[in-house]
Amino acid sequence: MSSFLTRRLIQSLILLWIVSMIGFALLHLTPGGPLSQFANTPGMSDEDLTRLAEQMGLNRPLPVQYLEWFGRLLTGDWGRSYRDQSPVLYVIGSRLGATLQLMITATLIAVIVGGFVGVVGAVRRYSFFDQFVTIGAMVALSIPTFWFGLVVIYVFSVKLGWLPPGNISPVGNESFIVFVHHLIGPSMVLGLVTTAIWSRFMRSSMLDVINQDYVRTARAKGLSERIVLVRHVLRNALLPMITIAGLEVPTLLSGALVTETVFTWPGMGRLFLDSIGYRDYPVVMGLLTFTAILVIIGNLLADILYVVADPRIRLQ
């Protein structure tokens, strides 16, 4: 168990290192490079800029700069936003919660709806339901998220008036019910793709397990079909889904960006898009690196969870 986790931890650290190098390279590709954050400041002369460049060590060799930058990355000094000079990590942190709310709710929808659909599809393989849902999942994967958002707003807000058209909750009214009411639309939109993916993987994972010898053993014990299905098929079929859930983090983050834009949801995605609009490169690059770190953490968490859930690895 510990050897498995140690290996994964080392792999994650290597990934983090390469990710940081890509982030550093992209930062230096931005117009003006790291210095550009001062170029717009009024009253800044070329001399000042040169002095600043020296102060920031921008005339030193790139590897040295990278090491310093990486050191600051590790100590949490991610630079300051052009817009209001607040620390990048603080800006990101203030938006993280809203995005996580969306991502977690969407994942719950995917696990419940997609999981259920996948299980039924596998049990009633080739039935009308199965074929319908298989096609439906493929179509769902083909729908642009933002357009689905527009359709949801049009149907549920404009036509039916059931849901608010966006924004996390009106100022002054922050009750839980209002919050949940506002969460429904965006979570539904963000959850669509993940639900489709879950239903497909759940189905094939179930089919992998359903013909296993131990399922036959369970039936031979005379257990009811429901117990066989839940305790011996579903329990085992859920194991690979832990990995799938980990792999879904980048998809969810991408989807969150689009969903937050459509529903004006004040999360990291919105922040990212606004920052690009303002050419606020420290925040843009910070977010890019931050999301990649989230992805790495998500995969690592999935690995840990897998170890907990699978006695074959836990008790190696």
Binding site: Q212, D213, Y214, R216, T217, A218, R219, A220, K221, G222, L223, S224, E225, I227, R231, H232, R235, N236, L239, A309, D310, P311, R312, L315
Partner: protein, 349 residues
């Protein structure tokens, strides 16, 4: 040969009567009869061996008794399998309701499978898997069932059962897993245990231990065992009576002594010649012979006797026209061969 166990009685009514069992699978190439008109009895307390090469239909027969063959997708199970239940009623396992067959599985008929590696669920503890059936069928508490599981593990010879119930299958050796599998099967004290090649996946010393265990358990409980195997050495060890199957049909049926002493079907003779025997080591050197040719493709069965393409006694227009019937050579010895009298009389092939 093994002495006849005292519990076996040839007189009492049979525990299980299989009549004209036919199992057809529908594949891409059409219907395939895996079992074709098989009839036999299982008597109380006896060990009946079902012998044949892979593809002979012996495993399918056992799954049919458990009613574990998916009937969906055009598969067909015909005939009748009549079980004398503990209550004294006799029911046709192929006709009873889902609820009733579920009640019978585990409590009256249980099964041990070939692969101890894959037949236990890797994510549940041994204890949970043994106790599961007890909880389900007898509605006792999980705790009580686990206590019984400890006793069962002890019964099947697993050391430190208290500790082992908390182990997962992968923490046990192959032999221990098969013992655990037997404990799972015995959990609700069945009258009939079907053992489908229970020792094939194990190495030889472990094989002998498992066979001994099964025989010991049979003596204690008086249950009947249907033992499925392709290994005639194992048959000689454990069986009271033997059914030899070939291409979905029974081709010879006899007590273990007459079968080994005077096999009548050329196929059985071939099987026996391909088994290494103790007396071969001392002196009289006979070569081990494999039966030439292969088991027929179930989608293209030969006409007449399915064995005729591989048979040394083959006679054209006799063997390849009609399927011979299962004829009694003795009251306790039947054979399906058009030339069994010549074979018995030792007429050379």
């Amino acid at each position: 040969m093994t002495p006849q166990p005292t519990t076996a009685s040839a007189d009492g009514p049979p525990l299980l009567e299989v009549r004209d069992l036919t199992v057809e699978f529908r594949g891409q190439t059409g219907k395939v009869a895996a079992v074709n008109g098989v009839s036999f009895d299982v008597r109380p307390g006896e060990t009946l061996a079902l012998v044949g090469e892979s593809g002979s239909g012996k495993s399918v027969t056992s799954l049919a008794i458990m009613r574990l063959i998916q009937r969906a997708g055009g598969n067909r199970v015909g005939g009748s399998i009549r079980l004398r239940r503990r209550s004294g009623d006799t029911v046709d396992l192929l006709a009873v309701s889902e609820d009733e067959i579920r009640e019978i599985r585990g409590t009256e008929i249980a099964m041990v499978f070939q692969e101890p590696m894959t037949s236990l669920n890797p994510v549940h503890t041994i204890g949970a898997q043994v106790a599961e059936g007890i909880v389900f069928h007898r509605r006792v508490s999980r705790k009580a069932a686990l206590a019984e599981a400890v006793e069962l593990l002890d019964l099947v010879g697993i050391p430190e059962p208290q500790r082992r119930i908390r182990n997962f299958p992968h923490q046990l050796s192959g032999g221990m897993r098969q013992r655990a599998m037997i404990a799972v099967a015995l959990a609700c004290k069945p009258n009939l245990l079907i053992a489908d090649e229970p020792t094939t996946a194990l190495d030889v010393t472990i094989q002998a231990q498992i066979l001994e265990l099964l025989q010991g358990l049979q003596r204690q409980t008086g249950m009947s065992i249907v033992f499925i195997t392709h290994n005639l050495g194992v048959v000689a060890e454990v069986a009271d009576r033997v059914l030899v199957m070939y291409a979905g049909r029974i081709v010879e049926e006899a007590g273990v002594v007459p079968l080994f002493g005077r096999p009548l079907m050329p196929y059985t003779q071939g099987l026996l010649r391909s088994v290494p025997r103790l007396d071969m080591m001392s002196g009289a050197h006979e070569e081990l012979e494999a039966i030439p040719g292969n088991v027929p493709d179930p989608t293209a069965m030969p006409a007449g006797c399915a064995f005729h393409p591989r048979c040394a006694h083959f006679r054209p227009s006799l063997c390849d026209t009609a399927v011979p019937g299962l004829e009694p050579a003795d009251p306790e010895h039947s054979v399906r061969c058009a030339r069994w009298r010549d074979v018995a009389a030792g007429v050379p092939a």
